[in-house]
Symmetry: D2
Subunit: 102 residues, 4 copies
């Protein structure tokens, strides 16, 4: 299981608003069944690496189906194998330290 952040940016869209593309990508993520959260700068995904890469390929295609001619996609994978650690575990681990040091 890995945690990943994904940002899909359509290029050459005429207007600066990208919400119709982001919404469509979010819908595909929703339908994929992968665990994911929308942030203001992209989506955080959680699952097996192979599955995540398949979804990245799928989501990357979305803006093209909406008429865009160029897409810039960024993926960051955080893969830790000495212990099982979910996205929530990562947040909890930091919060716990912040609390302890207060």
């Amino acid at each position: 299981m890995v945690i990943a952040s994904l940002t899909v940016t359509p290029v050459g869209t005429e207007t600066p608003s990208l919400s119709r593309y982001v919404a469509e990508c979010a819908r595909v993520l929703d339908e994929s069944g992968i665990k994911h959260t929308l942030t203001p700068m992209g989506s955080v995904l959680e699952g097996p690496l192979e599955e995540i890469l398949q979804i990245v390929q799928k989501v990357h295609e979305i803006p093209f189906t909406q008429g865009v001619k160029r897409v810039s996609t960024r993926l960051t994978i955080d893969d830790r194998r000495d212990k099982k650690s979910t996205a929530q575990d990562k947040l909890d681990s930091v919060e716990k330290r912040l609390e302890k040091d207060k």
Copy 2:
């Protein structure tokens, strides 16, 4: 006002756990007064670009003060000037589209 994502990764830490570094960076962000949210893959910041770049420089220094000898820092800036749009506005805009299309 820009929205930015920031991830500071210490390199050469001997153990895979980075929470003590992330917590210290989070504390500096808290004290900075900048609007920010912790995500499982970094922090989302919101504010004037110049202020954000000053904070990036400050947060990037943290792991060095904790004994780390190499730090990899990633910053993504989303700067939109045709309309005022907060991090929450971006999320709302996508959610609204998702609702409408249901």
Copy 3:
């Protein structure tokens, strides 16, 4: 055909030096037959998206086979479909503009 940048960062290594991991990743890229160039901040790859994603998965595994317990991998995909444009074409296009404006 897409152009992509790939950076694989092992986390929790004993020393700040990562060259033995980067060299091993470079060797796998060399053997893969994919068109690629090493830069000081990662590798630039060129090829079909599906093939690139397969190679990303393979290269991401390398530091684990070398004993590392956590790996952070960053991938950026630039996919333009209104015209065929190689990595070299992109550079040439910018150089040509710089020359013209002199």
Copy 4:
């Protein structure tokens, strides 16, 4: 001294071609005097962190002066302090290992 990669992406341009924006950013980098190399996926910069952050702010402004209303800028900083290591040193270090293992 740090090594950094910088990519400035204008959003909402009329066409997928970005070379006129990239060329203008390259020109500002050339004039800045900072050591830098253009790659097909961005520029690699080399210099003191403070200077690099000032240049990032300057280059990020360029597409706005050309009429763009939204800019997405990505910066990755690699800062190693246990030894002096230039961008060329990093490449040489990997090449040397690849040679040795042949």
